[in-house]
Amino acid sequence: MTTTAGTTTAVAPALEAVDIVKSFDGVHALKGVQLSVQPGEIHALLGENGAGKSTLIKIVTGLYNPDSGEIRRDGETVDFSSVSSARKSGIVALYQELSIVPTISVAENVLLGENLPSRAGIVDGRSMRRRAKEQLDRLQQRIPLGKLAGELSPVQQTMVAVARALATDARVLILDEPTASLTETEIVEVFAVLRALRAEGVAIVYVSHRLEEVFELCDRLTIMRNGETIVTKNVADTNIDEVISTMVGRSADSLYPARAESIGKVMLTVEGLQGRRVKNVSFQAHAGEVLGIGGLAGSGRSELLRILAGAQGHKDGTITVDGTVLKRRSPVGRVLDEGVALVPEERRSQGVLLGTSIQENIALANLSQVSRVGIVSSGQIAKIAKRGMEQLQIKARSAKQPVGELSGGNQQKVVLAKMLARRPKVLLMDEPTRGIDVGTKAEIYRLIRELAAAGTAVIAVSSELPELIGMSDRILIMHEGSISGEVAAEGADDELLLSYAYGRSE
């Protein structure tokens, strides 16, 4: 398959990944992945979260070493031991964040790295500005060279990052969600630049969740799922619906317990909620119900949960828990007292103190329960920890074992135990099973179901559609901060959910 947009070539691919295998701690992240990108081609790399796109990018840019498989540049096998060796061979990846240094000038940003022109160690300012200007001219950008990069608009920052890649003579440019923070008109500008680079023969790998953009810009696309490349196609030969159904695939699910038979009273009412990344969200959740929330990364799912938990403020709207209206700007502690508990997205940095024991972690959210007049009782702590460890079947040597020594699944159970000891009326869970083995996943789904059956309203955010459908009774989908669709989970259709997630309501 060597057809690029219209031209048939015998030219060797600019970048080729052959049979790449990579596993982490025995879990296969990539199981024999193929990717082939021609010079002068914009090639989309698509797949759901966790499909393996970012692992693949990290391998071709030298950040990870593959367990087996080959990377070829212009037909020659290369072995990247580091990011700089990949860079030397002309492969550069640009990520959404971190691509510019805000506190130094535009010119310095463009020439950052080994390319600062200098004489005897003193930076040659004039030559630096001249060379930076050459690169920006190539992109037809007029950005003041002396300005601090942090003062630029997002699109200008993107351009500076691209210019820097070109300054290191990039022949393969990998862009990860380059348009995430840009407006429509800015996107048009970026596309024009990318097309110009394509005409110069640069190979571009374009990772995006925005399928419309892919169809507007790209020549070919490769779809990944569960660590495998499913198909590579000319964009002209396919359509969005086909791409979505290929991305989703199918998997049997005996993982999930039966759904709720009856739903109880309203536990949580959210009306007109406005905040960072959350626009006018209203919904209700009921006792006994598991309410799933889906949407793409950055759609405001996590922020919605954080606002509900008091971890992030909101501008407008009301939150009512079991008949009590929460005061605006209530901190997490107050919201917990009202019965709303959050199991956060990032377990290791938000959920547990890794160097601290299981019992201390559980006690932390329950200090008033285990103390009297400000003095903690170690007996009470042991009791509450024992109860939690039994209820959740946490596997550990003892309650005094540091949480950092436990497996991911058991760490997640500690976070749950900590919050369940508060007997929440509403339990918010952000990615409840991320990074957890399948066995423990099933346990957590069962537990969620038991909690709901006992009268808790469970609200769970998930990026994985099968999980979202399997564990929930009802599903809300978010798109750019608002709820773009509501579906009953029973018999829910992946494609419908995804089209809501992409903001394509019919």
Binding site: A309, A311, P331, V332, G333, L336, L342, P344, S349, Q350, G351, V352, L353, L354, G355, T356, E360, A363, L364, A365, L367, S368, S371, G374, I375, V376, K418
Partner: protein, 330 residues
């Protein structure tokens, strides 16, 4: 079969853990070991003077004020911050109390005023850092500068003395032939130790020092807890400063200044004592003892005071390197 596999795995894990434990004991033991070595060294050099009752009492007397101020520093460092104003605060508190006594105010009023000064400086630090989100470095450096200035204003730039005997007695008196400041230091240390270990506030401080975000999402009111830590540090430093003025029988604007860096050094030294590498009061006291023994021993050997200062700097570097090793080991 699975049982056997399981049991070999357990043994392997246990072995690994015990070897890790040995390693951590070596590293954590090294600070205590260094203290013992120092004591042995000075004892060997001056067997007739160093380990006598009088000299040991002397060392305890000398380090009691530092122990109190290092205790204050420990609290702030458990929360993951530090306080550069503890020394200045202690001087100001000593000066305010002394000047009020010279103006013939009652002892109770003067002592309360001194403690109130510490409370005020601590509150300002806490508000700046916890609520106005200044960095602890900038905020406490700034308050330190101003507090030193106020202390000069209060003392009129001179050393004030001639306070009533019952005040000086607090710092110079003895009970069972041991100076009173030693008892104060022991009492305050026990309170801080118990507070850090057994109170809900102590748990919150530890959690914040471990990971602010985890603490916040667990319902800890982080700002309030940090404000409390700085306020308490101010109060405790003030008590240390008042005792110093009583011990010396005089007050000057910068007489507690050395204690700031020594207190940070002691806490750093103490962080190497426990496995988790966190600030802890017992470790801090070991650190205080190292600094005290060092200074006393070098004095006995007749080493120049400036050389002593150089050595102290080297000890701080050694301490920070050691605690760095520990964190890397985790």
């Amino acid at each position: 079969m699975t049982n056997q596999k399981e049991s070999t795995r357990t043994t392997a894990v246990a072995l690994q853990q015990s070897s890790r434990r040995v390693g951590s004991v070596l590293i954590s033991g090294s600070t205590v070991f260094a203290l013992i070595l120092l004591i042995l060294f000075f004892f060997a050099m001056r067997p007739d003077t160093f380990l006598t009752f009088v000299n040991v009492r002397n060392i305890l007397y000398q380090i009691s004020i530092l122990a109190i101020i290092a205790g204050a520093q420990t609290i702030v460092m458990v929360v993951g911050d530090f306080d550069l104003s503890v020394g200045a605060t202690s001087s100001l508190a000593g000066a305010v109390t002394s000047v009020l006594l010279l103006q013939e105010q009652g002892l109770g009023v003067a002592l309360l005023a001194g403690v109130a000064v510490g409370l005020a400086v601590g509150l300002v630090n806490g508000v700046l850092i916890a609520y106005l989100k200044m960095s602890a470095f900038v905020a406490t450096l700034a308050t330190m500068t101003s507090v030193v200035g106020i202390a000069y204003l209060v003392t009129g730039g001179t050393t004030v003395f001639g306070m009533p005997a019952e005040f000086n007695q607090l710092g110079q008196g003895r009970f069972l032939n041991i100076p009173l400041p030693v008892y104060f230091a022991i009492g305050i240390s026990i309170l801080i130790w118990a507070g850090l270990k057994y109170t809900t506030v102590g748990r919150r401080w530890h959690a914040i020092g471990g990971n602010v975000e985890v603490a916040r999402l667990s319902g800890v009111n982080v700002r309030w807890a940090r404000l409390l830590a700085f306020t308490l540090a101010g109060v405790i430093s003030a008590i240390g400063g008042i005792l110093l003025a009583a011990r010396l029988g005089s007050a000057a604007a910068e007489q507690g200044a050395d204690n700031t860096l020594f207190s940070v050094a002691a806490v750093f030294l103490g962080m190497t004592v426990i496995r988790s590498g966190a600030s802890n009061l017992l470790g801090t006291l070991v650190g205080v003892a190292i600094i005290g023994v060092m200074s006393n021993g070098l004095n006995i050997l007749g080493v120049n005071a400036y050389v002593q200062q150089v050595v102290t700097g080297l000890i701080i570097i050694a301490a920070v390197t050691l605690s760095g090793l520990k964190t890397r080991e985790r």
